[in-house]
Symmetry: C2
Subunit: 340 residues, 2 copies
DNA sequence: CTGAAAGCGCTTACAG
DNA sequence: CTGAAAGCGCTTACAG
């Protein structure tokens, strides 16, 4: 059980010798090729079993010119957006017999280059680049011998294959949900205006209001920062200036938590008087607030899974450049229950 | 820039041909071996440059019997404990020219087996098994041909190499910190009693109190669940039953957040009247509470880094079984500022 | 049905 | 200093 001395990993030659056949025959027997007598096959399989032979995928790959590996290049492993994407991709590949090299560039271009070189020398068959913001990023440089798929953070080059979440539509979904709850005086408070995600959600929200023949409280989106503090502050300000506000669409769950805390302290009843919806569906926040928080889920695992699928296709030559935006969905909780 | 048609990756043969030398000489030139004329070396290097030749690490590995890869086996990628450990390990390996295969077993033993088989067939030189709880886990079965290091979740087999955080000492650290803040009536509220982490921290806390000649409020640790709700509830109960309580050591930041909310609603002044310390140093919680939360950091990246180092050593035959527990540290914030 | 041979891309003694 | 040869572990035509 302890990692004792290793008696040299068995090779196909060992198996062949033990079974008394050539290594060619041993290979065929083990790989289920047709042209092997049943009795011979059994003998080989038993020998393999006895030596706990595991075929060397490295050697096999060298011969076949394919390694069955891909590289997953992330810019930050702690990001709560990267991780789910990464999980989805890992899951999709794992099921398809592909092994995944993980590289964290830590947001550093030099380190990214270094990792790419290493991955290429290991002959990965493709790369997935996972980013932590939806703002388009510069594509990998130096035209690579393998296909690349950009996940969550799309490439600036529209000819590249990019998969991300549809934040514009998501903004509309959130507003539609609040409207469906009977709300009419809706405020949109969100994070840093320099984020494409913030802009996109706001655009979708504003459009949805317009289509409903209304406009957002204050006639605009309130940009700020992705923090509870901002949520608290802006909520109390809005409550003050627009006392008839009856819905808050928040650009993140953190902001929403701040908003909820603020409403609570102002004695406002959520969801009876005011509905609140967050964004990201981050469990630690959504299920611990009072009341629990309705939120928009970006389905990031799906983004990762689709990225894996697209990479597969690109590897097989069925590439199709362009950006795909996956739909988000609302996860309903107590903070937006329609109240008669 | 777009991944156009790949003109077949250049091989050493191509480089040799272009430079007009044998592949043996090309190999030596590229690898900086001494026995090559300077002029020849330049010619080879230029040819390599021109063809953007990248040596095939797979072929090289096959020859040398080492692949320069390791497997990182995690049980859950979403875990906020696994990720930092994983980051640390990835970082340590990346610096050492080792590439890392990532596998998420999703807590499923079957899937774990499947991944191990795949990794072994790819001839990884070692494995790091990352768990999400500090409870000892069953060791990998079927004696493996490569060394294994267990990170965060130690192996049940004391002969295996395990690295984890020293939760017992951490419990003592937290108490000592509260004592240093002048607190005497300290309560310890923590999570699920079935977790080794909860038990260990409680043990350390109780011992530290005893050594200071005191005992915890209520004469015991309050076990419950790892949630804000539990923190809120137990805090208000304690406040009720032991109104002289002046310090809370919480087994997690989530619990601490609940405690803080409860104290706040009861009109208690933190840190003036009561000091609070959490556990995990989870930014999203510690920096958004009012006041900001002092917490215990388990240095998980260090755990990952050390695990990588130990695996390195084990691969080189310098193995040393046993469990190593790394010290934790207090990150001081406003919730425990000593007040005169 | 079985096996000798060639070869994947590379490195390393060993002659010249 | 340079190159022919052997070989890492495997698979795949091609003979027998």
């Amino acid at each position: 059980m302890a990692s004792g001395e290793s008696p040299r990993t068995a090779t196909l030659t060992d198996v062949a010798r033990l079974a008394g056949v050539s290594i060619a025959t041993a290979s065929k027997a083990i790989n289920g090729r047709a042209q092997v007598r049943a009795e011979t096959r059994t003998r080989v399989l038993e020998a393999a079993e006895q030596l706990s032979f595991a075929p060397n995928a490295v050697a096999r790959g060298l011969l076949q010119g394919r390694t069955g590996t891909v590289g997953l290049l992330t810019s930050d492993l702690e990001g709560r957006f990267s991780i789910p994407v990464l999980m989805g991709a890992e899951d999709a590949f794992g099921a398809g017999q592909v092994s995944v090299f993980l590289c964290d560039a830590r947001g550093d271009a030099i380190r990214e280059q270094h990792h790419i070189r290493a991955l290429l020398s290991r002959r990965v068959e493709g790369l997935i680049v996972v980013g932590s913001r939806t703002d388009p990023r510069p594509p990998l440089t130096g035209d690579l011998p393998v296909p690349v798929v950009y996940a969550y953070a799309p490439s600036e080059n529209p000819a590249d294959i990019s998969i991300t979440a549809d934040n514009v539509s998501a903004g509309g979904l959130a507003i539609d949900h609040l409207l469906a709850c009977g709300r009419r005086r809706i405020a949109h408070v969100t994070g840093d205006a320099s984020y494409a995600a913030a802009q996109d959600r706001a655009r979708g929200a504003e459009r949805a209001m317009k289509e409903a023949g209304m406009e957002l409280v204050g006639g605009r989106t309130f940009f700020g920062s992705w923090s509870e503090g901002w949520g608290r502050g802006v909520a109390s300000m809005i409550l003050d200036q627009y006392p008839d506000v009856d819905g808050f669409f928040c650009g993140s769950d953190q902001i929403a938590r701040g908003v909820l805390d603020s409403l609570r302290e102002s004695g406002k009843d959520v969801p009876r008087a005011i509905s609140v919806i967050g964004f990201d569906d981050w469990q630690v926040l959504t299920t611990n607030t009072r009341p629990q928080l309705t939120s928009v889920d970006m389905n990031l695992e799906q983004v990762g899974r689709l990225a894996a699928r697209r990479l597969f296709e690109a590897i097989e030559g069925k590439a199709a450049g362009g950006i795909e935006e996956l739909p988000c969905r609302i996860v309903t909780r107590e903070s937006s229950v329609p109240v008669p």
